[in-house]
Each structure stands twice: as C-alpha cells, then as structure tokens.
Symmetry: C2
Subunit: 477 residues, 2 copies
C-alpha cells in the first residue's frame, strides 16, 4: 500500500472505510464486498504502474467505471483493489473527417455525443444509464441500448483500443478499417475486465439523422404485439429502436408518468425510424401498414421532439415505474431469436403464474433481447429463492430456443452458473486459456464472467444469483 | 496415411503428384509448396477425425477453400496435409424471419445471395472473387469487397460459427444477438486458419434494396478525386460502394472493355447508393453536389441494371486489364485513414517515379483500403527486388499515417515481416499466446500470419514477399 500510494496522486488512494464503502457494489447491489483500497489514477502512466505493482504482489485488480453495471462485473475482490478509471475522462480528439472520436475510459457515454454534436455527429449505442455510465464500462460489458438494433452494440462501434495487459505493458488493437489476423479489439470488447485495462477508445461517430419519427402501436394481446415486431423486420424496415411493453409495464408507467396509454392495451410496440425526411416518411408508412395488418387497435405518431419525448417517457421510466409495484424487482437479461418471441413470451406468462410472481416485460424486442422484471419482496422468506428459480427457468427457455443467457448486461458474478449451461467444458477451457494468454497470474477481475470447471460440475443446477459466490457477502438491496 | 485413408471416403485423399499439384499454391502463386497429401472430407464428422489424427501424429494441417486468397494463407506445409473443405458445400438453412443463413464452409460467396434471392435477401460482403471464393475462406481472411463500406466486412456479417479446435473437439461461438464474455466468433473470423477449422457459419442476410443508382465522377487530378471521397463521407452519405481509379487504371480498363471514360480524366470516383427510391434520390443529389463542388468535370448517372453494369465493368475488370500492361503485377493491400488519402496517393506517385515502376491505383477509397498495383517484369534481373522495396515503402507509408499493412487480403505468408513493423514484440507475444490457447501443438497452419519473435529481430527490414520464408520454394508466376 505504501508503494501504491507513492505511484498515485495525493488524493488517489482511498483506504478509509467510509470512502471505500461507495465502491462495495455496482448496479447489482445484491452482491457486496469491501476491497483493500480504491486507486484513482489521473493518467494513463499511473494505470500502468498500478498494474505492474499489483501483478508483482499478486493483488487482484477490479477495474470500474461509473459502477452502473447490472451483473456485478465491478464487484470488488476482498483481497484486491478497485481501479477506478473515472478520472481518466478526457475527450482526446474528435475527427469529423473520419467520423471518429478518441476518448479516455472515464468519459460518460452521453458526453461523447454532446462533444460530437457541433460536427453533426453522434455516438450510437445508448444504454439506458447513458447519462452516468462510462465508455470504458460500455466496452467492458459490450453495452447495448435502444439504438443497437440499427447501429449495433458497443463492439460494432469501437474501432481501436489502447490497453494495458496485467503486467502493465501498453498495447494497441484495431485501426481505421484494417485488420490484424487476430481481432484483439473485438476480443477485448465485452471481456468484462478479464484480459486488460482499456485506457483509450476510438469510437465510430455517425451523422445525426435529419429526421426522426416515433410510433406507438397498441394491441389487445401480447402475442399480436410480438408478432408485429417480427413482421416489421421481415418487411425490411430496420427502425432505430423497436421496443415492446406488456400490460403490467404499461400500467406501471402510466401511473408513474401520468401519460395515458390507449385504453385496453395488453401491450404496445414503440418504434422509431430515422434518416432523411423521405426515407423516414416511407418507413413510417410501412410501419403503419404492418401494425394495422397485425391487429393494432390504436396507432400514434410523434415527429416533433417534444411529442417523441412524451411517447418514449413511459419506456424510459419503465424500470423505476415497475419498481414501485413491489418492494424488490429483479431484471433478467437474455436473448432469443425473433421468431421465438411469441412462444417465449407466452411461456414466461405461464411461468409467472406457476411461480406466483408477477413479471413485467419491457424490452428491446427488435433485437430479441428480453428484460423480464420479476417483482417480489425479499422480506418474505422463500421469495428470493423462488425468484432465482423462475429466473433460471427463463434463461433456460432462452437457451432452449437457441438464445443466450446474457443480452447486454454481461455475465459478471450474476450469471456464472448460466455460463455452465450455455457452454461446454471444452469451450470454457478455451475461455480460460484466453484469459491466461493475457493475464497469466489471474490478477485482473478474478472469479468473474468465466466459471471454474469445478463450479460447473457441482450439483445444484443453474442459479441466477445467490449463495455460491466464493467471496461475496450477500446482503439485501 | 493409411489411417487417414480409412477416415475419408474412397476419393477423399489425394496423394498422386498430378492431383496434389493443383493445391501447391493459392491466389499468390509466387509461393508454392507440395503437401504430403490433400484430404477432401465430405462431412463435418470426417473433418473432426482428420484433425484428431493429425494432432496425434503432429502433422501440420492447412485448411483451404477455393484457393483464391491473395496472401498465401493456404500455402501448403511440406510436412503437412491440405484440408480442402470444398465438399462441405451445403446451405443448411435460410431463415427469412431472422434474416440469417446457416451454411457450410465450402459454399461459394455468391451462392448464398443466390439462395437468399427468393426471400428478397442477400449476403452483403462481396470480394471480387465472389463467384469462386468460399464463405469459409472469407471467414478465415475476414474478406471485404465493394459493399463493405456500407455493410461491413465479413466479421460484421457473421453471427455464429461452429468450429473444431486442433484436437478435433467441436465448439460453437456466437448466437442471435447475445454475447459471451469473450467473443470467439470475432476472434475466429480473420484468424487465417490458426485457431480452428470452421465447419458451419451463420451469416446475416439483408433485404435487397429496392433501388440502386451508380455514379461516375471524372476529375482532372487524382488529388481532387481523393478529396471528393473524403467529402462524400463527411457529408453524411454512406454509399454502398465508393471506389477510385487513377489514370493508368482507367486507360487499361478502357483498352480492355472498349468502354470509354470521359476524355482527359486523371481519375474517376465510382459511387453506388442503394435503398428506398426516395432515399436513393436524395443521396444521389448530395453526391452530385459534392462531386460538382470538388471539381468533377464530367458526371454520369446509371440507374437501369444494364447501365450500372456498364459503369462498373471497367472497375470489375481493372485487375486483369492492368495485368495486360506488363508481364507481371503485384497487388498491394493496406489501409489508411480517409483524411490521409490525398497525401498518401501523392507520395505513392512520387515513390513510383523514384523506383521507376508504374503503379496503378484501383481501390476501395471509401474504406481507405488501398490496392496499388505495381507493374513489373520478373524476367528482368533486379525488378522483383525493386518491387519488394517499393511495396515495403508503400506499407510503411500506411503505417506512418496510422493505417495497417493489411486491408482485406490477410497476412498469410506475404506480410509476416510487415507484422513485425505494425505490432510490438509484446503484442506479437499475445497473438502467440492466443494461438497456443486454441492449438497448443501448433498443428493448424503453422508459420502463417504471426511471425516468430526471432523473425522480427532479424536484420534486413520489412520485406513484402520473398526469400525469408522457411519452407516455401519461390517460383515465378
């Protein structure tokens, strides 16, 4: 610790209990752990020195951005330090000719679009935490968002990275449009802090679309709404966003925002199209035709910024709105092929009744990225266990139709058991070998994202979250 | 060999000299080597058995598709076998709802779009060899093409892979839209046969655009043409293709096709916009405005299929056309940021005069992906060496402005020395560690794509191709 202190600026090492407490958990506070210390470097060089020192002394390092992650990826290690990168927050350059921005990891997602606005450009991936979350965290988790249907996940918008390996050596990956035989840039993106510490990111910027129109279509059944999502894509329209809210989510959002949805709606689909005026007009008419043909009983259109914001408000506030329905809720995250939307949503409804736990669905339907919100009360003995079992059943449902256990929230500590279900032992062995290739001493975020072979052979089936974490102290929200 | 024969169908193992000769080289015939045998499995299971056997006996395995690669990636190993995957040519399924196709590696690139056509879909990446090249080879080399500016490289259009590791164990990577903490799918794509043998590929299909318009703009200087390319993108138009041909390429293409270009053109820019009718009309007008503002003295528009084909014919036949200008030509492949197009093209012109070797430029300008074609006569003593030196200077130019030594042709054996220039020793060490993670015994395509540390410290600077390959017999085209 003394040597760590020498490396860092005067206010760059937190060790007092009150200071460190803030870093005990990320956006999944069901897991908490107290680190030995929190390092807050101000420069890239300091990051390298911290890593070299921690590798020398075999001290686990957990990198962290804004701590908004939802799978416990930034949960501290009790024998390790948290490497908080929030002070590396420079926008190094905006290059409008090549439509790229070079930024440090602590820059907030939305700040990139704000800096690019004078050039008529924006950064497309927009996780719902985009006001707070950092681009470094987005890279670590391969974050998504409403716009990812049209513009891709974080990995599709990252062009190059500078990163330290665990020994503190700086590397560069990626480049303008060129290729290396092994795409380290794509490998690092989404690697949840296991392979390296990213200290500079070159992201793709895109021209701001001149026109944007949002649509809301209300349906009398969830199944009709889900079928219309599939049909929109089949018709060749790729909206900038294509979201679905079910009846429970609608009534919660309506109570929360005071903005009414069409009376009798069992589900609504929200779609936004952007581009040139004429293209938007054309796509809009195709959307209207699909929604009508699929049985929508009410269709609304919003073109002015103010009207669009009003239309989206319920969706954007759906999580806190649903949060008011019960003392606790648990947000699941998995993906399914679009063709499976109708049967999977039907089955989730059946599971909800069987477990006697309400489930609200508000999600990126166009991507097949489900976000079932399970409502419960952790104070009622046995409820958390039922939530876990229901969550595991939902993820199994995703896997059974060819989907994945994680959509855009990562694996972290939350889905270690799910990894055992999704991947074979041989595939997990490849993950471990890759980890060792970058970080032979397992200093970087140990215990996250990739389960040990031993964990996978233990009996007990798939847990969503809960007791089997080796070092986390489980506490209530 | 006896055991290999038992694994394969009766006609599945070639050992006779005449049969094996066909496989001595790929599309870069300056390198040739005779393998021990050529294995032609018919099923996925046979591929696995071949790999298990070769690993057991430590026999190098070089996978091969149609052999159209341009960097010697499928050059045989003289102590190894060629694993030709051309008979794995089934289109397993086309799923129009999810807009994906599952195909075996031996399926030709163009065959995917042909199979998808009845559903109104197509597969976007279009290397110029697309009639012949296979999707397996496209995945190995992360192939590009004219359409990649708008629709991405192969890696952006591959959703999932099934692959064998060197021991013959089958793995799956990727999925619908979901993520794994380590993106094996992106890592395998472009890995040039070093990590595994891909036996099934799930690719993204896209709706066929209802309208397509091609534009040709002629300029009195190469610099004006290059500047207009940059300006098109800056204006927010992303054409489906944005290509540049210089004066030498134009006169060669004109002689070859008989179709005249505007008199006095020092360079032309070809652009194609696709999408809905109205969007195409809008983009077209923006293109016309940019070209006019940038000094184009002649602008042509082609909307009918027949006219478009005519406009593109010169570009599509530019390589064979240029090939008639000299006994030999060497096609370079590197990338640069778009903002560097003007200075780099100017410098290539200066290098061409200094080395007294004509260079024709026909390339994916929108992507910054250069393809300088160096004309020479290998029969003239010393010319090949001058070509090598000029090629190396061009690649150094790419690196100096932040580009890469390989655009879409891969590294193979051709650019091993260039890798030493582009990457640090520490970065190459990561590549080697990744290779070992998948293929601990170095059975898969040994000696390709990633140079040994020893090679990089040898004196002699960067060679483009030539004498330093440990096992290749260098022969003339």
């Amino acid at each position: 610790m003394r040597r760590l202190k020498r490396i860092l600026p005067a206010d760059g090492l937190l060790q007092k209990s009150a200071d460190v407490a803030v870093y005990e958990c990320d956006g999944l506070p069901v897991y908490r752990a107290r680190p030995l210390a929190v390092a807050l470097p101000r420069t890239v060089a300091e990051v390298g020195r911290v890593l070299a020192l921690c590798t020398e002394y075999d001290i686990p390092v957990v990198s962290r951005g804004a701590g908004t992650g939802l799978s416990g990826g930034a949960l501290p290690h009790p024998r390790g330090i948290v490497l908080a990168l929030s002070r590396l927050d420079r926008i190094v350059s905006i290059d409008p000719d090549n439509q790229v921005a070079r930024v440090e990891p602590g820059v907030r997602n939305l700040a990139i679009s704000e800096a690019a606005r004078p050039f008529g450009l924006f950064y497309a991936p927009d996780p719902s935490s985009q006001i707070a979350c950092t681009i470094g965290g987005n890279v670590a988790e391969n974050a998504g968002g409403v716009h990812c249907l049209k513009y891709g996940l974080t990995t599709h918008n990252v062009l190059a990275l500078k990163f330290f390996d665990s020994g503190g050596t700086l590397h560069e990956a990626g480049g303008p449009t060129g290729e290396a035989p092994l795409d380290l840039c794509a490998l690092l993106t989404g690697s949840e802090g296991l392979l390296g510490v990213v200290v500079e990111i070159t992201v793709r910027l895109r021209p701001r679309p001149p026109a944007t129109v949002a649509w809301l279509a209300a349906f009398r059944s969830l199944q009709e709404a889900a079928a219309s999502v599939r049909e929109v894509i089949s018709q060749g329209v790729i909206p900038a966003g294509l979201e679905l809210m079910d009846g429970l989510a609608l009534s919660a959002a309506q109570d929360y925002t005071g903005i009414p949805y069409p009376e009798g709606a069992a589900a609504v689909v929200l779609a936004e199209v952007d581009g040139d005026d004429l293209a938007v007009a054309l796509d809009s008419e195709r959307l209207r035709a699909v929604f009508t043909a699929q049985g929508a009983f009410a269709i609304e259109r919003a073109a002015r910024d103010e009207d669009r914001r009003r239309l989206w408000l319920g969706r954007k506030s759906a999580f806190p709105a649903v949060g008011r329905l019960a003392p606790d809720y648990y947000c699941m995250d998995g993906t399914i092929p679009r063709r499976s939307l109708v049967p999977v949503l039907t089955e989730i409804g059946a599971l909800s009744r069987r477990y006697d736990l309400p489930v609200a669905n508000v999600f990126h339907a166009g991507d097949g990225n489900l976000h079932p919100l399970i409502l419960y009360d952790a104070a009622v003995p046995g409820q958390l266990e039922r939530v876990e079992a229901l969550g595991a059943d939902i993820l199994r449902l995703c896997l059974d139709c060819g989907g994945t256990i994680s959509g855009e929230h990562g694996v972290g500590v939350e889905k270690l058991d799910g990894m055992c279900a999704q991947f074979t032992a041989a595939e997990l062995a490849i993950f471990h070998a890759l980890k060792s290739a970058f970080d032979p001493y397992h200093v970087l975020n140990p215990g996250k994202a990739v389960p040990t072979p031993a964990r996978c052979v233990e009996p007990g089936g798939m847990h969503v979250h809960g007791g089997r974490l080796p070092f986390a102290r489980l506490e209530r929200f």
